[in-house]
Symmetry: D2
Subunit: 346 residues, 4 copies
């Protein structure tokens, strides 16, 4: 894996080292901690919890080294998890796939989440340097694309907000429950979603007791939600907020219902959509909160319908670093290799 020192990378590494069937063969870092080979339990002491007695010797994969595609290929991994932003991912993915015996890839960045390069270019503000791979990339949301993951060479792991919003929207959109009016998704996220980089607004004193909205009308997960839920982009408003907590996303999605849709039809749409899902749980009539899902790979969804039957409010909750990033990445990896979806995740 690449990017082990970031928050998502740490969560992934913690689960990989205790996975019953997988083995971490290379831990590379592109940023802090990447300046030399070091045991990752020294760089990230909390991770050492998973590696047994502190005096034990660690296999080579547990040394963190600066990441390069060549070094990664030398470790001969079956699958490479890229826990880095979209810019390095755009370099790494083609480089890895160009190898004689390329590994399979789970890319946690936003680089390969759209089917058209133009959409990427508009929302990420840069050209897409590997558009030939977009058609092949499978969007790694097992709830929707489980079958395709088994054979995928390149899996594009969903954005954290997108998973929260799509869990609310996709069952309604595909079942015809959605009315023609606009959908509004008001999402609240803990600070780890912004990563480890130092920023004024992430200073403890600035964030404790604070809350703010950001990225109005321009957050990159907006078109991702639309594309993978099946909602036309022009009918979606998505507003993220920063919560004074470390982890978790709570998304409150306001959905117009089509005329005549009943509460039973809504419930059936959710039940059918998630009947096979390992990690999406229906909590209705109870609404989920962040504690129900913190540190787990679950995404919980509950909803209420307005007295006049014309509006539904769905509340979804997930841990942005687990189901919103590293956990779902591992779930995808499990499905790519035919393991139990939950291996390493309970």
């Amino acid at each position: 894996m690449l990017g082990i020192t970031g928050y998502a990378g740490q969560e992934l590494a913690r689960r990989l080292v205790r996975h019953p069937q997988a083995q971490l063969v290379a831990a590379q870092s592109s940023g802090r901690g990447g300046e030399g080979a070091r045991r990752f339990d020294q760089v990230l002491p909390s991770l050492a919890a998973a590696t047994g007695a502190s005096s034990g010797s660690l296999p080579a994969g547990l040394e963190i080294v600066p990441g390069t595609p060549a070094a990664m290929l030398a470790a001969r991994p079956d699958v490479v998890f890229l826990c880095v932003p979209h810019e390095p991912a755009l370099e790494w993915v083609p480089a890895l796939l160009a190898a004689p015996q390329p590994p399979r890839i789970v890319d946690l960045s936003g680089a390969f989440r759209f089917s058209e390069a133009a959409l990427f270019e508009r929302w990420y503000g840069m050209p897409h340097s590997a558009p030939q791979l977009l058609a092949e990339a499978v969007y790694g949301w097992p709830e929707k694309n489980r079958a395709r993951l088994a054979r995928a060479r390149l899996v594009s792991n969903p954005g954290c907000y997108a998973t929260a919003a799509n869990t609310a929207l996709w069952p309604l959109a595909q079942s015809g429950c959605l009315g023609p009016e606009a959908v509004i998704c008001d999402a609240k996220s803990g600070a780890s979603g912004a990563g480890r980089g130092l920023r004024d607004d992430l200073h403890f004193v600035e964030l404790e007791g604070n809350c703010s909205a950001y990225g109005l009308f321009q957050h990159r997960h907006t078109p991702e939600i639309a594309q993978h839920s099946g909602l036309p982009l022009e009918r979606l408003t998505f507003t993220p907020h920063l919560l004074p907590t470390s982890r978790g996303i709570l998304a409150t999605t306001y959905v117009p219902l089509a005329a005549g849709v009943t509460a039973e039809q809504v419930a059936a749409a959710y039940r059918m959509a998630y009947a096979e899902a390992w990690f999406t749980r229906i909590t209705a009539p109870r609404l989920p909160d962040l504690h129900s899902v913190a540190h787990t790979n679950f995404c919980d969804v509950g909803w209420k319908i307005s007295p006049d039957g014309r509006q539904l409010i769905a509340v979804t909750a997930l841990d942005n670093l687990v189901k919103g990033a590293a956990g779902q990445a591992l779930e995808n990896g499990n499905l790519m290799f035919g393991f139990s979806p939950a291996a390493g995740l309970l």
Copy 2:
């Protein structure tokens, strides 16, 4: 004042004791701390900060005694602040006003916020025992009703969420900027809004790191927002959330704009509405956050308009205990007696 031991009561007492023109002549409690006469700096040590040296003697008004209308009237107050729920307020208001020389009243509860008793009865689930006073009560939002406050005998102090939502909505509604589609107000509040009562979900371990939605389609501030912003109730969806912090409300309001409304018209509507307002500040194009208003009587409002010009998102922030309760109550008191609106509030 009545209700000095609650969170709003404490905030009010703290400001009253340093008010240049007012004097706290009676501090009564209906709940905890109300079982006998005690100096309020002993019951509420943090309040003593406002009363000078710890060894100093305090005037009689600074002893907390169990509240009764008769005892309150005996102190001959010019104005009584009722910092209690709507049930006791419904008893106290008529009792006080029936006195030979009745005091004026600022009621912080929801008892007198609607013009029709039926609306109260539907949303508060109990009959209104003093409907004859509803027509007289002035809704104490100085931004809208400043002139009427000067002569008011009974002021009904607005709900915390209602002030946050109405700050966003009222300028647009009265200026014709609102389109015909539904308005959604997604509000987030700190835990002090729920009061000092002990509840499982307010236990520190349950709320730290948590966030949840509650009261979907049924929060009592919904009709209050509609009535005082001028929005038809059936076009408003209001959803409150509980934040893992102690104080502050951030409300994100999604507003459809009428066809042809320009950004300049929107800005003008806000500027005109708040040109005379002491405590509502326009922050646009910046958006407010909780820290901008914490511990102050300010309500900040910013907004953005969608690229297609059809939707506006307004973000408002206030301190639920100050502009959302005690601060606005004192601001109302200042206006009732011709003091500077900001006396005791800066």
Copy 3:
């Protein structure tokens, strides 16, 4: 197990259901949630994460029923974990051990931590109703008593503060490094240490941003630390504090060093004491913090020696609900049955 709805009980249940060799055969509750048979994933939704797909059926043991010794014995457990206070533990332990084929017991309360009943009676303020079992009970701190645990019938699981303090003190006391002056242990704990009961000082608004000392000169873990570290009680001062966070204990222990003791001797004392320990990690020269151990069964210890060589400050950190309660209980259970010490704990 008994006491599944408390914070420690939940942590234990979560680990038991994914333990490779153990099986949870009875989940009983003495307090909230104990009023009728319910699936524990309904009472405690976050626990459901460990039980597989939400639609799956659960074995009988995963129904929470009101606890009675008879019902517990009927489930024929090999070992019973008592996650309740000392009063019910004093009733349950003799009742369970009186059975024809008694289960082994891990008692998480303070009921059997002292070798003399008089000490219990003085510090817990009540007579000890089962003094005949005190000699038999093994103090379940594997770092010190690992060998005795294998055959123990009754294991008394250590207090959370006591484990943190003894990790710092015991190696120094047994190696002769301790000087004759007083030892001071200043400990800081998250709020979950106080349990789920509702208290004014645990209300979110009261604890957020707060910190306080409590129990000066009278906390019950004081004699427990003395007895099991080997320090005379009259030379120990122990002061707990309440931190504005949910979990974790950081203990700062000020230790006088005997004349002539060198830094090397100190380091050797710690290394020897914990050479075989699975879950105590030496971090010196780095000092531990709460994040290093949160959600893990590790206790970390670091220290510094004063420039004049006469004083050592040890800092120890653990998760009060894991190494400080449920995790150590399971570690003890593992050792009692010959499993790997870490089974279910990584």
Copy 4:
């Protein structure tokens, strides 16, 4: 004032603008926000609360400009508050005092807190460039030095930890209650004490739910505590900790009592020491917590004596930005100019 954009500077500015007798004539910044003239309500929106209606025009002093001694002198201030670290303070103080009509100075840094330059040089690791001013500087702790402040030209404002520790120690040291054994001060501080600078350990995700000790045996406030409490340096151990909160210091000080000292003598020592103090409050037998003093200029002190009468534990609490910095600076300013000590501080 200089340093208005730091946390202490903001607190001072907020109080100065509402001070009944003082006027802020120059707001200068040495760091962020100092790159050009800007209204400080734009740089620091929360400060605008104190400046009246948002549309009001501000006097020249409320523009933040990059700080230089010449520009400061041009504003002809009666007193200059230096809210900057010791390095710039060492440059500014001599420069200001060299003016033909020099202003008086309150320096919030550590530059002039010791009477000997050697002590500064040892603990601050740099030569002292203005040792000639050390004898003149008055240590600005009004509880001890009130009389000298009236005539002081240069006031050295105490460190936040030092005020907390000395409040516990000084009454005992000067009254002969202190025994000969070592004193230990274990202090816990919120994150604002570390300033606005970005650091990994102050990132919200790193500090929420965390707690750590730092600076063992080497924090700079150690000799400051010793010098101004009258305790020999070699008998003092001072250990600071970082709390997961924004503001406040709680110091737990372990004090050996001299043989024969009674509880009454201890109480008398504290009462006499603080009989005239405006802002130090005795809470014994109750112990203070952070909420009692947050956002106020009070320092609270409580204590307990061990059953054998040989040890006292004092707990002191203050707001590190107010009594620990800006509030005490303003209190000193008030005393320098003959104002009420509490002007602008209640």
